[in-house]
Assembly symmetry: D3
């Protein structure tokens, strides 16, 4: 198992370490004195580190390639202010040696607790059909396993293992806090939508070694994958009220709120509208959180504007420094 | 059965006729001398006619309402240059008395011939799985029946019974003529897309008495209804090649070509792109055909521009009058 | 005082009544037999009624005009299914005879209770400066009086007397329910924004006889009027923390969320973003409520789609009829 | 004449070669030991190669500059995995030594054959005036020469010598295959539009050494250049039917289909609409072809999505790998 | 000749008049007592009046139709507050009896003076070629005649006879006032653009009986018609400097400033940019002038906002009433 | 005081100089032989120069940082065709040693003359209230001082000290030249708008060491800052005509002309419209001027197109080379 992490490199300056990494990039370069060497990038969930391998590279070239997990032995040193590692050995890692959770960023929250919280909300539904429907998903082993692991995005908000679940749990909480103010909104239906709206991400994204889109993800997309999953579960639960199926299906299809964001329908019910608004809010608030953290990490002082945030087309400001004194 | 049609009113001026109509509108008005009378609009596939009923309206009010089929007896006369009918009797028509085809406009082509032509194309597929798939739809009695009757739209292009089939047959012909110029395009896959892309319209629209949207049509839409129908058939045909399913599904989802036209995905394969372009072309050419006919009907001379065509944001011109002389 | 309301016309069929109305329209028409008569529209908070005055119209023409309050005497009768009134007398009403609340629709909630609730929230602020600031508005007699009476819009959402206060109170409640989920959000600042964001509507709109825009409202707009009101209050409270002033001012300016909706700045703080989202949600939910009521009033059955809703570019559906059975 | 091409460098590793190239870039750099050397880029139709010249650079600097053709002598060697050449000699090439076709990419099809095919279509026109018109262009020596050589674009689709002709010939074929399905379309007029629509590119672009825009190309554009060329030919053919001139002119002006693509008029005739749709289709299909080739060249496996394609705002997929097995 | 104008109807109440009009609409209606009568609309440059013809309508129906000039005799009377005329006689007017200027609104300025002013500006050009070019247009009898008569638009700004010339003269004045502040601008080139930019309107529009678009106007448009006229004149003046031709042509093509306004090129020179801005300003200021006049005519008081102005997507305010007191 | 400027480096090749600079960037790098050195960028109003400091860098690191002014001593030399400086000494400069005008680009016009010209225009106002209002700004010491120094932008047009004043003076001149052609325009009101419209830039931007946005600038923006400044001055001048205040306020708010450019209101008066158009023209003409200069500086020949100009989405052409010969 992996016991050295990249974030700890400073503690091992000039030491030789043996550990596992995901191999993010590999290129062959010419040595000035003739012959070839390898320039590599190694990754784990705590960061990224450059590596060089100067000798005996033939076996590596034959067996390792970008995207693999590797076991390496090498010496840590500092170059131009950054740590890198000079490798003596490198080989492919066996699947049994690897816990993918070591190589990808993951939620800071407890997955079991979040899962239990989510199930708790469903068990309190008064609408029997919706309760049957949502539990058909949560009790489906394959779906549940993916749901608890998937990130919520390739990048931007919640792009980490467990990110999907974390996003949904927060969203359900806000839904439950908001629904009482709108008598047009049925809380069971709203929460059903909140739990199922992004479930297609379990097939749109893959999180093996890195986060990326599947072929189905690119050609079909999570909205329509989720719709297909819903129809399949409804068929299994048959008979299921037709109109209720349409209402849930509509929430899934319309949850991006605009055609240009990939929703083929605009929200037309109170629940669909509220889900769209709160889902968008959740995502944007997470962007703010990430940007405030990034600004702090880059040395900005608390009361300064962040850099331009491309996804929101504006810079942001964390107002807390101006308010906390009182 | 219905033997008087509104288009023939001139032949019956001042005669009393007995016939069936769809009741498009009904309103109660005050007579100047006290009491009430009925102002009605009657419709069949050849047109629309105003009606008045001056006496004994109580039974009618109790039993008939807008959208029903009615049997009436009354006298034809001309008023302000238009024919209308003064009713002596009116009652609800029994379902057995009505052939809906008499009340809604219908394709001018032979449905059986078009259907046979379509099946003929599929029987020549070289791809076995796609052949299985399309026939699973065409051999499904309920689907086939609706497919052969449905209009292609509520208004605009092909808004008549059999319009969907007419649209698809023409589209398949153009697909087959065009595909050979593009080696990237698989003709079987393209024709599969052409036949299935609008199949959701059989549930998006209803054509009972008039053309309109179903609740599912408005909340889900024909693109996503078709996707659901595809997934159901694929499941029945299991095992079916996963990638092939994704390619067909992608064509359905992307056939409107733009997010703002309700497609949740843009066309990413050669077949999806070609289907989108030719489907759009077919619809626009039909708009031209309709507008040229409407201009002629309104008394425009052959070489004149049409009125402004809202759906295309421009006026149109039928160039034929300037070309036919040679 | 007014004791006959238009909604009660049926109870007075063929009776002569004496009452006050707002005169919405007045036109002079030619009698067939020569001479002139008046065609009028009378309005009160319960509806609108046509009126005719056949004789002795010279005094009326000299003294009354559209937009005035009038006192009339006349006889109620039914014409083409609607009640109208044939006037014997009509004169301008004195200001002392009129309670404007009788002529414009008004909130169904208790203004005093809402006002007390709003003040209660402010009194619990922990931020002393924000508390000082908001109370400077709420304790300003002229502002408070307008705030408690103003509609929130000329038409669309909350277009009635007290609508502004009703809108704000609901918004504050949702703000307080939502804020705890976002540690980046300071609740006092958020509620300050919620209370002040639309305060410019007290000068953008007028609600004398009817709802409309003031000249300042059209040329400056409520966003910038509010900004001016804020700067004036801040000056009175001097010294007031400069940064805090900028944060509040920013919330006011950005609360429409997009340039094309008239906000000269996009929300850049967590509070501004949340205020924008919840304010928009509140307005949209009110549109749904109005449309559901309008659909019911027009005779739609509970599970039907509403007509096309122009301001949202879609039809809507009240989902409750499909959910209430369980 | 040129007998060494860059694509063959591997066969000449460590040899000294003498050949001609287009000089794409030239910069003077400081040697570490003092003095200057030249860093150059050499180009021919098969690719691009870096070059260095260490000594006797004064003559070169005085006589050669970017964009010229040069004759060089130098030794091929490999550096960081790529071939480059160390020059002993370099001088300007005389015009007589250069066949521009060696330096720019060119169509893979036979220009004479395509030209004959195009003329064949025109000779079968039944409309005498359109036949006269198109031959007036094709028989004009200067225009014909440019038409057979011009690329269809600076970059993107058909950006190679003969690309314009290749694009037009394919487009005419598809036009002729499609026209029979639309009785509103006159095939002679359609093909006239297909042959003339891009003829302005012969003056919008230049293809001397590299592909680029002329001043007239940037300020006027190929659409309006073509319009001017049409008016000139029509004048020469006088008398020519006025209305027919307007119909052809309209096709040229509207062939981009949208204002934002530089068409000052939207297509209003059946021929203009069909030309616009098929021209756009041809260009997009060529983009797919290029992108599939580029993906393969970059080492993607057949069933993978391409990279993001900027001009189409999406990634693409070559579906053939999933279909060819059957 | 015409000596009664519609604007003078009040002076002829109950009199019988004989005069000429343009026949804007004609419809046949059923008399209640049987038989038919004519409902007509008559127009001259001062307005529009309803007419009725009760007897002897057969000759009229055989000879007159919408769009013709007619001579009528009839009696003026007032009906529902408006004047109308009851006709005894009506016949087609001979061309010799009609001065079109009596039937269409016309400029209030002196055409000869404006024309002389325009020629005066050109005679002071220091650039000989531009002087030759512009005079080639102004000295062309057919063009000059149309230029002095054409309206500048079908509706909106300067929609009256002579409107084009009026628009151009004002524009040239502003150009000459503004050019000195921008040394990048050549005044002769700018004025050349101002005089020629809209010259295509002489063929885009027709002004026979009413204002409308020609077929060439709709399919080609005034921008591209003007370009064709320029190329023809340049050919006549040959040799003419090629680059200068391109600069003038560019100004014509780009003067609408945006693709979506029908300009196929954006302004890229200082003169093209300035021409676009000032042309747009002139048109907008004329809209303001029209709207202020319309508001006054409709009874608005001087300091009130106008109604919503659709072409500018806002209401307008004439500020003068708030400024003139001092 | 600063007596060496970067633009003069060539005259000091290999000399040791002592001077002051703004420190634009500072980074610490590893020497190959161990230890660290500094890579720096120094700036003054004439340009930018790279610097290296090899020894005794500890004091510098402790005291200097990016954005500071520094005093340095070092030797000029040429490296890869550019001058750089090898530092022996560097320390923070005292504020008294620095004239910021030496470090930021500045207007080439005389500030005193421009200021006097501006005041001259105001002194000729016939509207007493507007004269009072504008002088209240120009006579306010703090505002006047900032007004005379501020740039008009961070980058793009007039991005230099005094740029705001330069922009406004030119704008006022064009306003005064144009206003006489539009009787709807009050010249005093127009010039008031021209002088005050951008006055918020004195607080939106800062110009200390470099040009940038203030926090208030980003959260509020110069349009709304100016509005606040106006309301404050109006209050000081009380009583001031309310309507006049609204008209001036409206000009400030609407001067960007479109919502998406940050104006919360569209121009609704003749003065607001003219100000918007001429302000935009001024800015664009300045962009042309800058781009023509940049093209010349980069070695383009006079008649060539510039590179693509991003802010205008097109390339530009200086037409003068084609016109000056005559």
């Amino acid at each position: 198992m992996k016991d050295f992490f990249i974030a700890d490199a400073a503690k091992f300056d000039n030491d030789t370490v043996t550990s596992y990494f995901a191999l993010s990039s590999l290129s062959v370069r010419e040595k000035k004195q003739g012959g070839q060497y390898l320039a590599l990038t190694l990754t784990d969930k705590t960061g990224t580190m450059e590596a060089r391998m100067w000798d005996e590279i033939a076996d590596v070239l034959a067996n390792c390639s970008e995207g693999c997990y590797v076991k390496v032995q090498g010496q840590i040193s500092k170059y131009q202010g950054k740590f890198q590692i000079t490798l003596q050995k490198m080989r492919n890692a066996a699947e049994s040696e690897i816990d993918p959770a070591d190589y990808l960023p993951a939620t800071l929250f407890d997955v079991e607790e979040m899962w239990a919280e989510l199930r708790g909300y469903v068990s309190q539904f008064t609408n029997h059909d919706l309760k049957r429907l949502v539990f058909a998903f949560l009790d489906d082993g394959a779906i549940a396993s993916a749901y608890r692991t998937a990130p919520a995005a390739k990048r931007l908000h919640h792009a980490w293992l467990g990110g999907l679940l974390e996003h949904v749990v927060t969203l359900v909480r806000v839904c439950l806090a908001t629904a009482p103010f709108y008598p047009e909104v049925n809380p069971d239906l709203l929460v059903t939508g909140a739990i199922l709206h992004d479930i297609g991400k379990t097939r749109e994204l893959h999180w093996k070694n890195s986060f990326g889109y599947t072929l189905e993800g690119q050609l079909i997309g999570h909205i329509n994958i989720a719709q297909g999953m819903l129809l399949e579960k409804v068929k299994e639960l048959s008979p299921f009220p037709e109109k209720l199926r349409v209402l849930v299906e509509h929430m899934i299809l319309s949850h991006h709120g605009k055609y240009e964001f990939g929703s083929p329908k605009l929200p037309m019910t109170a629940e669909a509208l509220l889900l769209n608004v709160l889902d968008d809010l959740e995502a944007k608030m997470q962007v703010l959180r990430n940007e405030f953290a990034a600004a702090e990490a880059s040395g900005k002082s608390p009361g300064e504007m962040t850099e331009w945030v491309r996804s929101m087309d504006r810079p942001l400001l964390d107002s807390r420094s101006y308010l906390k004194d009182e």
